[in-house]
Assembly symmetry: C2
Homo-oligomer: 289 residues x 2
Amino acid sequence: MRPHLVDNLLVVGMGLMGGSILKAAREAGVAKMRLGLDKDPETMRKSLAMGLIQEGFTPAEPLPPGKTLIILATHLDSFREIVEELLPLLTRDTVVTDVGSVKGPVVEELTSLLGDRGIPFVGGHPIAGTEKSGVEHSLKDLFVGARVILTPIQETPRRALELVHSFWEALGTRVEEMDPHYHDTVFAAISHLPHAVTYALVKAMGDAEKDLGDLLRYSGGGFRDFTRIAASNPHMWREIFRLNRDQILIFMRRFHATSKEIERLLEKEAWDTLEAIMEEARWLRRGLD
Amino acid sequence: MRPHLVDNLLVVGMGLMGGSILKAAREAGVAKMRLGLDKDPETMRKSLAMGLIQEGFTPAEPLPPGKTLIILATHLDSFREIVEELLPLLTRDTVVTDVGSVKGPVVEELTSLLGDRGIPFVGGHPIAGTEKSGVEHSLKDLFVGARVILTPIQETPRRALELVHSFWEALGTRVEEMDPHYHDTVFAAISHLPHAVTYALVKAMGDAEKDLGDLLRYSGGGFRDFTRIAASNPHMWREIFRLNRDQILIFMRRFHATSKEIERLLEKEAWDTLEAIMEEARWLRRGLD
């Protein structure tokens, strides 16, 4: 039998992400013991019944001995509280990582909080997910072929970074490293802004329906695909918007300038200019396939 | 053998749509003779070689005798010219329909132009397509299960409407009828505006890359799915924007008001209000699945 990467894997927050990590970790056999912690007792029961975890865990008991990887997979706003609660139990044989979609403020806060006790933190962001929530929607293949971005900083011990790197590779992902603030700039542009725009679009259409009657029932695949991300978890997105507000606002202002320009071109019936903009957008977009 | 629905099917414009109609019509055996007309001789040759059409067609020759269905599948801006060119060849045994994404002005213009000669026109809009163009990307299953909207008006002869209805049903679609102007309102909201917004988003990101360097190479499935429609044909969209400008502007102004409101809420850090808007959008969006 291949040696386990760690003795214990503790996933905090067993939603779609946490559940999928546990399923994939079970498949890959990366941990001797899979533990889970969730504030919802029903989720704890389900995760045990589904065999995702071998044992539930509460901060009232000590961690089992050995090398332990803790993955924070709750909403971003509970990271600090969880780490403070776990802190007394952690040894230098523990590495903490997370799966949050914002990295700058998270890496700063947790590196300092854990670093005071000599415990390493490695920021992580697996680029995977669905618009569904809950452990019952977790998928063992969610991460296969996905990209995981790790955001080490100067204080991050190399050994801890290597452990988290190996963990994600064992789950079939492609791992890359990025500066946490650069990560937040990139994701404000390619993920957070498109989400905000989609929420605006769906809300605007909902308001229009109140005035004009049935519009959305005719929506074909286009509108449904385009707006699927508006079915994502609102609380998760609230926290992403809160923690990456400044970067998102920068790109939102750029987007509004461009979109208002398109409105003006429609008003002026400047069809050639509009077609040139669409040509350019097509060219850019095709580069992504 | 099942009797053919028509003697001749003439598709004008053999791109993705026209080619897919011909493939589906061949499968369904709806026409004795499949004819095609395209301004590009290479497309004519390909369509013959692929067996999509049995014969090419030029307006210099007469149409074969019998019941004929003509489907206009070119860009919207060439409909008038094509109909004027074909007009001398058409008999009262001909029905003309189209697949354009804007209906109000098209139905008015072609009903009057053809009606002067006693030839019926039925406006049609199959809700299907991909971001690809060209006969080589045509798909025999493009329309299976798709919705087709027909937009008869008072002048539309019932017999012609029934023929076009039967044609699309034979291709496996679900047919509904709608007022052409109402069609344009609905599609401004659920299709044309989302396309305009996506073009704006991709352009804004492209401009940001010029200032900030590599952003889009990190884009995961989310951005790629969201922006796929920006790879659509610019000339087709120019014509849609031109012909449905007023309706699109109405929804674009609504969208900008909502989206600027979201920008202001981010600036004010009004997280509860933002979360409530996202809850509402999720609720609306889920209703579409």
